[in-house]
């Protein structure tokens, strides 16, 4: 089973929910897909034992075969190639902008002269680790790189659906989030009861609905703000799965990297109940479709 934890707004408590849920269950595989800022390992204190490169294929041009026809430039949807034809004694050239390349392979496939081959370019790292029985994997996008989805896909390549897979997604509603959440059986949307929290929750709900993933909401810092998040959930028939109170000691533990369930054991049962509720919703969804 794959459960993704996402949120429109950043800083609502995705990692808090993901980490504590994971620590309350057995047979968990934890994937931190917030590759621009992975931080779950700080709370899980997982021992990272192995790493590999995260790569995308980028074109390499053999100018001895190139006729500067411009096909590669014309098929590149991301404007990562420029072709300057030869003229007035100046030889032609192909200019490659690998940081704009999405690694789609169209240029190699469609070059009429077979002048393009693909070479792997490292854009990040994937790190593997464990904590007790929990398997842990996260991605880390290299500084200066703009594209996180390939790193997220490489993390998700290692998914073991027979286990309880917990995916900590990046914030927002764009490509990285969609890449992280896609294929999940359920998505927990973490929010806070503020106008910002509500605004971004509405956007996140639109995303998961488009992906046909059942979702529910966890309201963090539940006793600040107003009742509009709950009113919205009611009107949209989205279950509010859990509320986490706004408490000084929770913030203090967080700042020390200590998960909630390790300081207040009662929360363990709360997170187990969250999991049971989610299983119920998934079974219901499956039986009615």
């Amino acid at each position: 089973m794959i459960i993704a934890i996402a949120s429109g707004k950043g800083g609502t408590g995705k990692t808090t929910v993901a980490v504590n849920l994971a620590l309350s269950l057995d047979n968990v595989q934890f994937l931190d897909c917030d590759v621009e800022e992975p931080n779950a390992h700080i709370f899980l204190k997982s021992h990272l034992s192995r790493a590999e490169s995260a790569v995308i294929p980028v074109p390499e041009i053999d100018e001895s075969k190139c006729t500067y026809c411009g096909t590669c430039r014309d098929v590149c949807a991301y404007h990562a190639l420029a072709v300057v034809p030869a003229s007035e004694g100046r030889k032609g050239s192909v200019l490659n902008f690998p940081h704009l390349c999405h690694g789609c392979g169209a240029c190699r496939l469609l070059c009429p002269n077979g002048a393009i081959r693909e070479v792997n370019k490292e854009i990040g790292r994937i790190e593997f680790g464990a904590r007790d029985g929990m398997e842990f994997i996260h991605g880390r996008l290299n500084i200066g790189e703009a594209m996180s989805p390939p790193v997220i896909r490489q993390v998700k390549y290692y998914i073991k659906p027979a286990r309880i897979v917990i995916i900590d997604a990046p914030p927002g509603t764009s490509c990285p989030v969609i890449t992280a959440v896609k294929g999940s059986d359920f998505c927990i949307l973490v929010t806070e009861p503020t106008p910002f929290g509500l605004n971004d929750l509405v956007l996140a709900v639109e995303v998961v609905r488009k992906l046909n993933i059942p979702c529910g909401v966890v309201i963090n810092r539940a006793d600040i703000g107003d009742g509009k998040v709950e009113a919205y959930c009611r009107s949209e028939s989205i279950p509010v799965l859990m509320k986490i109170p706004f408490k000084r000691e929770i913030a203090a533990w967080y700042s020390e990297g200590i998960p909630l369930v390790e300081r207040d054991a009662a929360y363990r049962q709360t997170f187990i109940n969250l999991y049971i509720t989610i299983c119920g919703i998934i079974n219901e969804t499956n039986s009615c479709c």
């Binding site: 430039r73 991301y78 404007h79 990562a80 420029a82 072709v83 300057v84 034809p85 003229s87 007035e88 100046r90 050239s93 200019l95 902008f97 704009l100």
Partner: protein
């Protein structure tokens, strides 16, 4: 010789657009005949690669010099590869830019003047 001037409008009395890749229009002016054409910049809204595509458009038109406010690193690289001179810091009207060039007022830029995506905020 054909000149390319980035332009907010489509006439010789409209202002030079300070952006290259995301300028409104390109004006191509033939110094031999005095004839000009205005071409709308279809790359202005690209999320990425606008400078590269605009430089390709300038090369395709056969221009030999570009007059604009600023130029980024990618566009500068493509224009240099095409043997096109780039004059930056150009302001005022297109007509004034052309006269300035004829009077030798500008010197070609050896390197880009701004970073990537600089034209996005101004757009």
């Amino acid at each position: 010789m054909k000149l390319c001037i980035t332009c907010v409008g489509k006439t010789l009395d409209s202002s030079v657009d300070p952006r290259f890749g995301r300028c409104g229009n390109f004006i191509f002016f033939d110094t031999d005949t005095g004839v000009f054409t205005a071409v709308e910049n279809g790359n202005a809204q690209f999320p990425g690669g606008a400078g590269i595509q605009s430089a390709q458009a300038v090369i395709a038109q056969g221009a030999k010099a570009v007059f604009t406010g600023n130029i980024g690193p990618n566009a500068h690289r493509v224009l240099s590869a095409g043997g096109i001179e780039v004059f930056i810091g150009v302001a005022g009207t297109v007509q004034e830019a052309i006269e300035g060039y004829k009077n030798g007022r500008y010197t070609a830029a050896e390197r880009p003047s701004v970073g990537e995506k600089s034209g996005m905020s101004a757009g």
